[in-house]
């Protein structure tokens, strides 16, 4: 959940049409309008999650923030989606439901998963539904990509120009031979603990774990 207190304004006379703000915006709230040689930034503040990265990247002081008259919230209640589907997705994605998936907006993995189940399949859509990708634009990428690709099979490019590389390995992806060769990193111990925690948490969603093709090893292995 992200509470947004600010909106973005453009100082047209400062804008040089460099397109940097459009490319960094995680929700496609900024569009360059006009002929390519003289385009200016235009902001749709209904889609602005106030990450301020456009202001940060602008070299011409062409963007600034104003306080909104009333805060806007971007978020989803995990209880609003099918709980079994939610649990199954988190189990298949190997993500702890309660762990924070986005630190800037303090959004949990289960909230991100709920946004995905509710229909979000691009970075932009997940951001607008759950409030993630609204701060550093960095640390929440892997949980988002993991959940979207697990649920939808792929994460398509969205209308945002923000580019990314599709990687989201987790602890559970580490091959046994790699784990065994890296005992100083406690991979096997953490995998075993994670499986136990995840099974217990997911059971609370009504998921029949034994019926799933989750890739999890049976208890005791």
């Amino acid at each position: 959940m992200k509470t947004v207190n600010f909106e973005i304004g453009v100082i047209d006379e400062n804008c040089t049409g460099c397109y940097l703000c459009e490319r960094i915006c995680p929700t496609a709230a900024i569009e360059m309008v006009g002929p390519k040689s003289s385009a200016l930034a235009v902001v749709d503040n209904s889609k602005c999650v106030a990450c301020f990265r456009c202001i940060d990247i602008c070299e011409d002081d062409a963007l600034l923030s104003h306080e909104r008259k009333a805060p806007v919230k971007f978020g989803i209640d995990p209880a609003s989606v099918d709980q079994v589907a939610l649990g199954e997705l988190l189990l298949k994605a190997d993500l702890d439901p309660d762990a924070v998936g986005c630190v800037c907006s303090t959004t949990s993995n289960k909230e991100i998963a709920a946004a995905v189940i509710a229909g979000a399949r691009t970075l932009e859509e997940v951001s607008l539904r759950s409030g993630v990708q609204s701060g550093c634009l960095m640390y929440c990428f892997a949980p988002i990509h993991r959940l979207v690709t697990t649920h939808w099979g792929e994460m398509p490019e969205s209308s945002t120009k923000n580019k990314w590389y599709g990687t989201s390995q987790t602890l559970m992806d580490v091959a046994p031979e790699v784990a065994q060769g890296a005992r100083d990193f406690f991979v096997e111990e953490e995998q075993a603990a994670f499986i136990e925690v995840l099974r217990n948490k997911i059971a609370a969603y009504g998921v029949k774990i034994e019926a799933l093709q989750s890739g999890l090893p049976p208890d005791g292995e």
Binding site: D56, S134, M138, D184
Partner: protein, 466 residues
């Protein structure tokens, strides 16, 4: 109280502050402007902490000498006179005692490469944490454009990536970091966020963070465990792609007293082991001392993100997350949330933020008062959008501190304002720290240090630790 004050040194002037777009203007008051504050030397607490060769800019020649001495044993014969070379540096090095020691180490490396190989083309790559203006600010402040004859570039985790095949699959580095025949890994051993890297293969961490695209940084932080996450940096450092490019490694070593030495080696893991031994030995005592604090008020007053501002060489994160022994890597609870939640130190009762940078999530764990212009800056902190909804404000540091002491019910105050060598604090806290320090040296040297080393596969005897 007066008797106590006379026992201690006056406030130590914090290092100069590099102004940043991510922080406030220079605050009107700092520790030295608060009546009654004193300083306490870390080597008065623990004489076994290694003495620094560098504590301020008057010692800058020592860094050049130490870097030259360390590089004397490094093979540079693989570098041809026309090869491209990237000297890699990371933003936090510029947060250590004002950054001038790290900057001088980088300049010296450039000079020695030219002297030894005839190659004048080494480029400095200044890598940011997250902000797009960070690198430019650093390059300008240290005038790297002039020294490196224009061969300097900034890099962010959002710049174009380069795929790196590893035993964990494809991970992504920043292309500007790796777009050279040779890379020189230039880092520092400030333990920083021990609660994340645990001193497990610390010397390879930058390959999974500083030198990596944001997707890979996210994997390290979010989808691995508190110890296994370090495998991300190791896997990249061990990749053929990196091994073929890495010419040598150079580290700035430290203790809470300041910069103590420069270390360099062609073999990354050899430096890594020495870094691990140095950090565990030099910082373990102050960590234990912080864990013994009974109560205090914290003032954050430095030009870095809140976790990373130093007091006596210890970052604030070391006090914030001091509820467990992070270097004992064999007794973790089952989840990261449990690990971090139980680790928050409940012993500081109120906080004042006089200056810090924005852009990194920071939990509010106690009543917090934000001073002057910093409050306006924090309103726009994209990583902490609701922080100021809960924080109080005050126009001056003096007023904020008085209120924090009332709220916290204590007159013990510690300043995190960038110092090494000494901690700026109230006399009452100085007295308490001296009392609490009793027995810490013995506990660390005789019990914990050997245990920590053995847990990391390092033989204590090899490093003269019985």
């Amino acid at each position: 109280m007066l008797d106590q004050q006379t026992e201690f040194d006056p406030v130590l002037a914090p290092p100069p502050v590099m102004r940043s777009a991510y922080g406030p203007k220079a605050p009107e008051q700092r520790a030295g402007d608060i009546a009654g504050m004193v300083s306490l030397r870390v080597r008065e607490l623990f004489p076994t902490i290694a003495e620094a060769i560098y504590r301020d800019e008057t010692h800058i020649s020592k860094i050049r000498e130490a870097t030259r001495a360390a590089l004397a044993n490094v093979d540079m014969s693989m570098i041809g006179p026309t090869d491209s070379i990237n000297i890699l540096c990371s933003e936090h090095g510029f947060g250590i005692i004002g950054g001038h020691a790290y900057a001088e180490m980088l300049r010296t490396i450039r000079d020695v490469i030219e002297e030894r190989t005839g190659n004048p083309n080494a480029r400095l790559i200044v890598i940011a944490y997250v902000g797009f203006k960070e690198s430019d600010e650093i390059i300008e402040y240290y005038d790297f454009e002039t020294y490196f004859k224009g061969k300097v570039r900034g890099a962010t985790p959002f710049d174009r990536g380069v795929p790196i095949e590893t035993e964990l699959g494809t991970l992504y580095g920043v292309a500007k970091v790796y777009n050279a025949r040779w890379i020189i890994h230039c880092h520092y051993d400030d333990p920083r966020e021990i609660y994340l890297h645990r001193m497990i293969d610390r010397s390879t961490k930058p390959f999974g963070m500083s030198y990596a695209r944001f997707e890979t940084r996210s994997i390290f932080h979010m989808t691995f465990g508190p110890r296994s996450g370090n495998l991300v940096g190791r896997a990249i450092a061990e990749s053929k792609f990196v091994r073929d490019k890495l010419a040598f490694t150079c580290y700035m070593l430290s203790s809470p007293d300041g910069v103590t030495a420069i270390d360099a080696d062609n073999e990354l893991h050899a430096v890594g082991e020495r870094v691990t031994v140095n950090v565990l030995r030099q910082y373990g005592k102050m960590l234990e001392l912080f864990s013994r604090l009974k109560d205090c008020v914290v003032v954050l007053d430095g030009p870095k993100w809140p976790y990373y501002i130093h007091a006596g060489g210890m970052i604030f994160g070391h006090l914030l997350y001091n509820g467990r022994d992070w270097w004992d890597v064999q007794s973790d609870p089952k989840t990261k949330a449990e690990l971090m939640g139980k680790a928050i130190n409940p012993k500081f009762k109120a906080m004042v933020i006089n200056q810090a940078l924005i852009g990194l999530y920071f939990p509010m764990v106690c009543p917090t008062i934000v001073v002057g212009e910093m409050a306006e800056v924090m309103k726009r902190d994209f990583a902490n959008p609701t922080f100021m909804d809960q924080a109080m404000t005050a126009p001056t540091l003096s007023e904020a501190l008085e209120r924090a002491k009332q709220i916290g019910g204590t007159d013990k105050v510690i300043f995190f304002d960038g110092t090494y060598g000494s901690i700026n604090l109230s006399p009452s806290l100085a007295v308490e720290l001296k009392t609490l320090a009793a027995g810490v040296d013995q506990l660390i040297e005789a019990e914990r240090l050997p245990k920590w080393l053995k847990q990391r596969g390092i033989d204590p005897l090899k490093h003269g630790i019985v």
